[in-house]
């Protein structure tokens, strides 16, 4: 059930209040319980309220919508989608959302500078996303050129399946 104080979050704690000899049961979410002094700091700490993800989600809720909404040019994720989940879509999101992300990262991490180890240069040749689609297209062109129409039809079907998966994962 929903919290009986904010009517927004899921209630996870139940309280019995005694007022003027009358017992009253209330279901509250942890934030409300904490703000009303019903949770001790220890209980709040161990309920995970102090972790970064929780804080991130609260910051995101407060940060207001981007007008107009912006999207990542690489993966298509919109800022409003990110606000709902707290999850970015690809490494490119950090670049395309940098203006909105910067103050957010600063508030939750208390820093905007990496001081840990640097990345290593990979020595191995890497696969590229969509590699399979690229290879299929190349094979398809070759098949058409060689007039291998049956093979071309099979390859076209497989490409369609790949592309429909892409559409599904984008919505």
């Amino acid at each position: 059930m929903l919290c009986q104080s904010c009517h927004k979050k899921q209630a996870t704690l139940s309280y019995t209040e005694i007022k003027a000899g009358q017992a009253r049961h209330r279901m509250l979410c942890e934030e409300c319980a904490l703000s009303q002094g019903l949770l001790s700091p220890m209980e709040a700490a161990i309920s995970g309220l102090s972790d970064l993800l929780t804080q991130l989600m609260m910051e995101l809720t407060d940060s207001g919508p981007a007008r107009p909404d912006i999207s990542c040019s690489r993966c298509g994720l919109s800022w409003s989608q990110f606000q709902k989940t707290g999850r970015l879509g690809c490494p490119g999101c950090y670049r395309d959302f940098s203006e909105k992300l910067e103050p957010l990262v600063m508030r939750i991490q208390h820093s905007d500078r990496h001081l840990g180890k640097p990345a290593k240069k990979a020595a191995v040749q890497l696969p590229v996303a969509g590699g399979q689609a690229v290879i299929l297209k190349r094979q398809l062109n070759a098949a058409v050129e060689k007039e291998q129409f049956e093979l071309a039809a099979t390859l076209r079907d497989r490409l369609k399946v790949l592309e429909s998966e892409q559409v599904r994962s984008r919505d």
Binding site: T12, L13, E30, L39, S40, P41, M42, E43, A44, A45, I46, S47, G48, S50, D51, L52, L53, Q55, L56, R74, C75, L77, G86, R87, L88, G89, C90, P91, Y94, L101, L104, V105, I108, Q109, H110, S111, D112, R113, H114, L115, G116, K117, P118, A119, K120, A122, A123, V124, L126, P127, V128, A129, G130, G131, Q132, L162, E165, Q166, S169, R170
Partner: protein, 352 residues
């Protein structure tokens, strides 16, 4: 048992490395764990990949990881290939997290000693974990760091000079490091000092949470402490901060134990011996009751009141008495009552 889970049985029969109770300070600190989050530069994050791309990531990362130290000879489990029960057993071992379970093309590699694991296509492309018994965060970090270096020689990871390793959630940004210790604090949890201590360590940037039990109900007095932020500090600084917090909590816990021993020894002994009596005689035992008695007996072992079972056996029971492990151990599906009877039988056997 479901044939899909055949591969898991062997894993479950071996004790998890972190339960050894061999490390330093094992009486209060059960394990030290380091986790590094990494993503491949050339792919969208798992939640925004096509299934075929996730397949590529899984196959590629698995092949590469099997060539690096600690993970050569690792067992691989496809998380969509095993049953829900199998996945639960891996969570009970703390080898995987209870992430998005329905996500397809996810898997985990587990080293032969079960101290290093690599989750693929969970929230991030790669989540490398290294876990050691007792207080040994530095060693856990050294191992994870070495595996990470070798992995990075084989794959280009998403990284920016300013922001470090790029992660799905900005809360893991930078080092991608989460260092945590699992602590048993029965004496502190009874005392009034606990609230103040939790506030102190929270101010030092350490997050506390109950290791078992949801919300604000901590079971077995088991707490997990980890770093709150992952950016703006070096890996060693982060590890050092968590280690220091663990040491100070440990010394507070020991002080509290001494205090209890000198002030209220009869009550303390009563608590320990009653718990041992129930565990060695019970015929039906819920997980909840087991955990709370487990805590008292564990305290009794470190006070020298209980000699059987040993600390390591008790640590192992924390895993082996959980629901999925019990079902695998007796090789059949158990309803709630059968599970509690089975647990009682197995716990009794450990006390004789």
């Amino acid at each position: 048992m479901n044939p899909d889970d055949a591969g898991i049985i062997g894993l479950l029969q071996q004790p998890a490395g972190w339960t050894n109770a061999a490390g330093r300070e094992a009486e209060t600190i059960l394990s030290s764990r380091v986790r590094l989050a990494r993503n491949l530069q050339n792919y969208n994050f798992p939640g925004r990949c096509r299934e075929s791309e996730r397949r590529e990531i899984l196959d590629f990362s698995k092949d590469q990881a099997l060539k690096v130290n600690y993970l050569n000879g690792a067992s691989f489990f496809s998380l969509d290939g095993i049953t829900k029960l199998g996945r639960r057993a891996l969570e009970e071992r703390r080898m995987t997290s209870s992430g998005p379970a329905e996500q397809l093309q996810a898997g985990v590699l587990i080293s032969p000693e079960q101290n290093v694991s690599l989750m693929i296509n969970e929230e991030d492309h790669l989540r490398l974990q290294s876990i050691f018994p007792g207080l040994d965060l530095l060693e856990a970090f050294r191992v994870a760091d070495q595996v990470d270096d070798q992995l990075q020689e084989r794959m280009e990871v998403a990284f920016s000079a300013d922001r470090g390793f790029l992660t799905v959630c900005p809360s893991n940004l930078g080092t991608g490091l989460r260092a945590s210790v699992l602590m048993h604090l029965p004496a502190l949890a009874m005392s009034e000092k606990m609230d103040g201590l939790m506030e102190d360590i929270s101010q030092k940037g350490i997050v506390a949470r109950g290791a078992y039990g949801e919300g604000s109900r901590v079971k077995a007095n088991l707490f997990q402490f980890s770093n709150r932020t992952s950016l703006g500090k070096s890996e060693l600084e982060i590890v050092e901060e968590v280690e220091q917090a663990a040491r100070s909590l440990q010394s507070e816990e020991n002080k509290q134990r001494d205090d209890l021993w000198s002030r209220s020894r009869p009550e303390l002994e009563d608590r320990v011996f009653r718990a041992r009596a129930i565990l060695s005689q019970a015929r039906v035992l819920s997980m909840e009751e087991f955990l709370s008695l487990w805590s008292a007996v564990r305290l009794g072992i470190s006070l020298g009141l209980v000699t059987i079972p040993k600390l390591a056996d008790l640590n192992r029971m924390l895993i082996s008495m959980q629901p999925a492990h019990l079902q695998f151990a007796c090789d059949r599906t158990l309803d709630a009552t059968q599970e509690e009877i089975e647990r009682a039988d197995r716990v009794r056997a450990m006390f004789s």
